[in-house]
Symmetry: C2
Subunit: 342 residues, 2 copies
């Protein structure tokens, strides 16, 4: 459908625009070494490319800029995954600093990713999926206050303080915690609620009198629904992009970033592999001039988490795709080794 030459010209225009953020004219294209045609020829192809919807003009006599469809074509056909720089070793470097808890590794990786790319990085942590319960603990601080602590096999620790009403005896609570520890060891977090409500609750009565109220209390402390945790890096990088010179755009960008639930939704329903959502392809008006590009990392064929970058549609796709691909592989490897050792 597209001629060889049109393809070439499309590629050159998009590459150029990504670099300069300025509309690209026929003359400047014809000057490139790879182009051996006159500006007039280029103009003809540009007009065709515009007719097909791959390019746009900012005004009737301006140079061309890529349309969303143009970027889409560019990503699908002109950027090859083979260019992947494997072995980027972000995670490896992070881990050499002696960190090893997943939460910290992820946070750190997000920061490095945003530094390398100058976009905003978002990582959806892995704990939601495969992590298992290692231990529950209750530490009483005073007769009326206590802390509930939950530890997973990945080294993740959740805690929540709560106050104990007078009518509840802390020793009852401790008994219950012991039972829970016995019964829930090794249970994946996602099955915790289920297991709790079916098996465990029935056992409880025989050990603790009048356990109902205490149990309800503990349940709220330990098993409050776990909101998805997002890790960000480079939240202010967007301020560097020329297309965000307008405060209004910055505002709308941040309104999206702050809405973590919404963001998590956008990240979650992804197929595996690299996923690129350009402009309006994101079902979110606030980032209709942004590209959200994401990759999943996984272990054992189960999706585990997502790494993403959010930047202007004029994104350095080539670099970013290679980078994300490399990083997701690396994280999958880390998860694999991890699991082998634990």
């Amino acid at each position: 459908m597209l001629t060889e030459r049109q393809l070439l010209i499309l590629q050159v225009i998009i590459d150029d625009f990504i670099e300069t953020a300025q509309p690209v004219g026929s003359r400047s294209i014809a000057k490139k070494e790879t182009i051996r045609y006159s500006p007039a020829t280029v103009r003809n192809d540009m007009a065709d490319l515009e007719d097909m919807g791959f390019l746009e003009k900012t005004h009737s006599s301006s140079g061309r800029i890529p349309s969303e469809k143009g970027y889409r074509y560019y990503v699908d056909h002109l950027v090859s995954l083979k260019e992947t720089m494997n072995n980027i070793k972000i995670v490896e470097n992070v881990m050499q600093e002696g960190l090893f808890e997943f939460e910290q590794i992820v946070q750190h990786s997000a920061e490095i990713l945003s530094e390398i790319t100058n976009y905003t990085s978002i990582i959806l942590g892995p704990e939601v999926f495969e992590t298992q319960l290692k231990q529950l603990q209750m530490v009483t601080l005073s007769p009326y206050t206590a802390v509930a602590i939950l530890i997973t096999n990945t080294g993740h620790v959740e805690h929540r303080s709560f106050s104990v009403p007078e009518e509840i005896d802390t020793s009852d609570l401790e008994k219950i915690v012991n039972i829970l520890n016995d019964r829930l060891y090794g249970v994946p977090l996602i099955h915790l609620h289920e297991k709790l409500n079916t098996e465990v609750i029935n056992l409880m009565g025989s050990y603790v009198n009048d356990f109902e109220k205490s149990f309800q209390y503990l349940k709220a402390a330990f098993f409050s629904d776990n909101p998805v945790k997002l890790y960000f890096g480079g939240k202010t990088n967007i301020l560097m992009q020329p297309e965000f010179n307008d405060i209004e755009k910055v505002r709308s960008f941040y309104s999206m970033i702050e809405n973590e639930d919404r963001l998590a939704d956008l990240l979650k329903n992804n197929a595996g592999g690299i996923n690129v959502r350009i402009g309006h392809e994101n079902q979110a008006d606030a980032i209709k001039e942004c590209t959200l590009i994401s990759a999943t990392y996984e272990w054992d064929e189960e999706q585990m988490g997502t790494i993403a970058l959010l930047g202007p549609t004029r994104m350095e796709y080539r670099k970013v795709i290679a980078l994300l691909n490399g990083l997701s592989n690396e994280m999958s490897n880390v998860l694999y080794k991890w699991h082998k050792n634990s």
Copy 2:
């Protein structure tokens, strides 16, 4: 030094400018009900106020805007602390949601504070000062990995994962943790290092053979220096302020916000009470067009933490000062009750 009338005019100008963000002219002042003089009279006083440095012009024939000195005078003489709205009950409302861990209360309060004011709120947490060690725990995840958990009497939980080298025996580690728990219970966190290095280290040898290496390891995990923790609310509120229509200013604002160490320094060396730093009074170029206003909350005459708001120099001082004063009192009360119960 200032006549009655000049005082009144200064106040009206600043009030007006705070509200509208527009230079104030003599005509609009003369229209106010409280002003019973002609524009010409007002103009004369405005010229005097400008000579004295309280007002400025944006250009030779513009209305006046307050100078930093003007704001300073306004804050020192024209805003009275008596207007305090006591009983603002931010914290009380937060706590009614069932939260009670200090960290969460503080975080939540910061958010509410920024919502009420539309500025960015910054709270310097209290844990650095009076909190005591409640319990240390070590949970082994695998033969080579473990989590160190530290719990304070305020319900604060710190944790840190670490990997255990082969040459170290986890049972040794556990022994050491037990000893530490015995000896360090109730010790204020700030004295932890000291106590550790003097008393405790000497005891260790008699219980555990070859403890040195293991101990060093644990020490790093449990007692890594605790960076000051800042809680933010409304980080993007600044985008609403008309004086931050310029991206450059937004950038410099965020460069300050991101530099938490620097911010913490600015907040720390404060006398008690309410502290207002206007524009260049902040020793930081990045916020030379901002006001940082802070209040300390305390228990038992010791400074405990700081609540602050960061916004443009054109700040609603009246409202903000009353609010911060109320909130700091409230937090002090909470701390007091807290301590009584624990």
